[in-house]
Amino acid sequence: MTTIVLLTLLYLQISPPKDVRVFDTPNDAGGSITITWESSPDAEGYRILRMALPDSVYTPVDWVDAATKRYVDKVEDGVKYRYIIRTERGSAYADSEPTDEVWSHGNVFHRGRTNVLIGVAVYTTLLLSFIYFAKRGKKLFVRKIAGLDAVDEAIGRATEMGKPVLYIPGLSTISDVATLASLNILGRIARKAAVHGTRVIVPNRNPIVMPVCQEIVREACLDVGRPDVYREDDIFYITFSQFGYTAAVDGIMLREKPAANFFLGMFWAESLILAETGASTGAIQIAGTDAIHQLPFFITACDYTLIGEELYAASAYLSREPLSLGSLKGQDWTKLIIGGLIVAGVILVSFGSDWFLGLFSS
């Protein structure tokens, strides 16, 4: 009798979790239900109990510690479930009310990403229409990009001095846009160098980029009718280690004394080590990267630096190929639109209107 009383007392002392909510986990592929609750001050932990309808028995699924207030359960799609969250303390416990019926299903569209969809749609339409105009033969102008005009001068100097050109295609992988932009420029440089019979040394950190560089330089030599200039051993892999690669390139700069160094692509902290060593050998240095943190170092230690988007624009600038020029135009016009949005937005916000901000957040 006393035990029953004591147990009841204990039972009464413990409060169940409050405000238990269940819902189908949003924006997912299905198979999952989320349960949340307000913690009970008495809990040592909570037991999650689940009943799949039409069953009538709750079975324990899991036990979580007292700090937990959210549980994601893996379930079968389309089956209806009810849950109970049980506060536990020693052998005493208190159950929450059973939840409403809930079932999970996969979502066909991610609702939080509508504004991205619209943004991408608008931008690609703009780009596509400019590419279309370019294809139709509309003349397109591109402003001067100082670093690129210096490329010929640099190769010319290397030829005069009878020294090689060093080309670093960045340290990143092939899918990096900076690497692709760099490979475009490599093709042009290799062609110019091949005409003069100047060696181009391309050390690689990324083994995926290496074979592409080889192919680009080989084709460039073939293109200008100088297959004899191509030396496969000049386009090689060093190591995937960032600083191992840096150590090796520093060595190459001091031993081969290239007359021109090109650092184009993605760089990390090694940027200044490379650029300063290159500067000490007296080479003309042309750099370009979209790594914002490395730009200051290239700006201080190199003769010319392509800043961010200028690197991407380089391939259009050098090739004057209409499709690339067209998409560059598209970028420019989008910049105008963004500039306009900023001006309009700042004016609106200054007068206390906030709805504009909501358009951009997800």
Partner: protein, 277 residues
């Protein structure tokens, strides 16, 4: 060649020697310049002070040996602080080598404070995927990390009992030297699940994270060796962070002097040339 001309084309090896001395001498003969604690460092310290003994803190070791001089002292500082307050620690890493360094810190201090692996602290190891790993942890930690760094099932360790997601932790601290790191922790653990997040990061990264601090997305921030030294000051303890601060200030000031000197020489030379014309 006049003195001015010679100074204009100064051999950079002279600069190198000067910098080396500016670092070595203060390390050998410390001056003990005062270290002022900045609000971001105080913020992280307070966040840990507020936690009750027995609560859990999640540590993410997202750095590597090359940034060890900056980040490792912070890692030691935070582990020391938590162990001294009997706070339990769960470590993990989004960078493979970070896990090793985190484990070093754990073992070093566990001995000092008499802590047991699996009860007072655990290292869940490395998992590739960055933000995906953090999102998966928010749903289910035992599923994301079924084993600890040494391959033992986490069910065998009392510290992991009932730990399902971030709710079990009073705070998450990310020691970060790049991506993935703090940004991902803030995006998922704080912005989506409301967890308090603190960070210890390299000085290079620090400016990018001040906005996070202002917006309250980070409870505290240690930036570079200076941040580590500040934390050591708060713990009333002298570690490698504090030891480096003298050298840091002197070498840094020396570089400023070099720049000013370089410009003075440049202007004198230019005036001379103009006179010649």
């Amino acid at each position: 060649m006049s003195i001015v001309d010679r100074l204009k084309t100064i051999d950079r090896r002279i600069i190198f020697v000067a910098i080396s001395l500016a670092v070595i001498i203060p390390l050998l003969f410390p001056i003990g310049l005062p270290i002022m604690v900045s609000p971001p460092a105080q913020g992280l310290y307070d966040a840990i002070e507020e936690l009750k003994p027995g609560s859990k803190v999640l540590l993410s070791f997202d750095y590597d040996p090359s940034t060890m001089p900056e980040v490792y002292p912070m890692n030691l500082g935070v582990v020391r602080h938590c162990f001294s307050k009997n706070i339990k620690l769960v470590g993990m890493g989004l960078w493979p080598t970070g896990v090793l360094l985190g484990q070093e810190a754990f073992e070093l201090l566990a001995e000092e404070y008499g802590k047991t692996y699996g009860e007072d602290y655990i290292n869940l190891g490395f998992k590739a995927g960055g933000i995906v790993v953090i999102s998966a942890m928010a749903e289910n930690i035992p599923e994301t990390f079924p084993e600890d760094y040494a391959g033992t099932s986490i069910e065998e360790f009392p510290i992991m009992k009932g730990v399902k997601n971030f709710d079990s932790f009073g705070l998450a601290v990310c020691f970060s030297a790049g991506d993935p790191g703090v940004r991902e922790w803030v995006m998922i653990a704080h912005s989506r699940y409301g967890k308090k997040v603190g960070a210890g990061i390299t000085a290079v990264m620090a400016p990018a994270y001040y906005p996070y601090l202002q917006a309250g997305q980070l409870v505290g921030l240690l930036g570079g060796m200076k941040g580590a030294a500040e934390y050591e000051t708060l713990l009333k303890y002298k570690g490698t962070g504090s030891a480096g601060m003298d050298a840091q200030s002197i070498a840094h000031s020396l570089i400023i002097v070099f720049i000013i000197f370089g410009n003075v020489i440049y202007f004198i030379a230019r005036r001379k040339e103009r006179k010649k014309v």
